[in-house]
Subunit: 161 residues, 2 copies
Amino acid sequence: MATDDLMSRALAALDEVDGPMSVEVIHRLVDVSAATDPMTITEVADLLDMSPHTLRYYERIGLVEVARDASGHRSYDAAAVRRLVFLTRMRLSGMAMRDLQHYMKLADEGDDTVPDRLDLLLEHRDTIRRRLKELTLSLAATEYKIVSYGGHTGPSSAGNA
Amino acid sequence: MATDDLMSRALAALDEVDGPMSVEVIHRLVDVSAATDPMTITEVADLLDMSPHTLRYYERIGLVEVARDASGHRSYDAAAVRRLVFLTRMRLSGMAMRDLQHYMKLADEGDDTVPDRLDLLLEHRDTIRRRLKELTLSLAATEYKIVSYGGHTGPSSAGNA
DNA sequence: GCTTGCGTTCGAGCGCGCTCGAACTTCTAG
DNA sequence: CTAGAAGTTCGAGCGCGCTCGAACGCAAGC
């Protein structure tokens, strides 16, 4: 259900707070999968709003390792779920699969690679910032065009159809 | 050269102004191709920082019509260039080719379709806004992770490598 | 005349990120 | 005992947005 995925909930949380980006909101995002029993593939899929197919794909390309239960079914422990939350968040922010594979390879190599991972994150942060600037500009241009078409710049187009 | 493409110039303009998003900046973006003689495909490609291949592709899928000169070469007049500026801007802001085809089909049908086009723009504006929220959240999450790795939240990672 | 360089058309190929289907196993309910 | 739901592996396929290469045309300069 797209109305209950991670990002929707986070955005809803943002709307509730109705203030600047707060650490509290971030914590909620992280805590979503705080202390949980092992989950099945469909449970994780529902949690992250993605298909079991995609979860298997992520495992296949080495982004995450998943244990199996007695009958060979995947069993996602808290660590795996946390990693997947991180992965989906980074994907959503535009990080390429390549880079995520690189990052996770480093993560699997232990704490020595923290500086390298930090570098990747810093670079990605800059990428997001650039994208934010671009999008802000695009938004302004779009609104400009809307006005030139006789539209008004309101809070939402819902109901304008 | 990517250092001289439209968006770079626009962002540079933004930095110069160093204030809130201004109509002035938008005008500069629009005026980039104000009163110009017909251009060749490479000139347009350089202007928009895309390849001639892509320009031909856009024409092929019906996004823009381009006149030919005596020897069969493409000749981009001001209107074509303006349309391409619009197209690249919309693409950059994440509008799908499908939607752009739809939009341009409407545009080619005349002024009667202005309301329809307006609706598309309003919808797209909402999409950009959603994406901005998502990205803002992603940025916060990334910075949170950076701090948890011992990094600092500065203006840029340049020089942190 | 001939090379160089920029243009043309056309169809095929590519990288990304999934997405799916086939064939099979395992568990649960009736 | 049986039917159905949900899981497994594997390889292939897909939609998007380009991207490229082959084969060719034309105009200018040596």
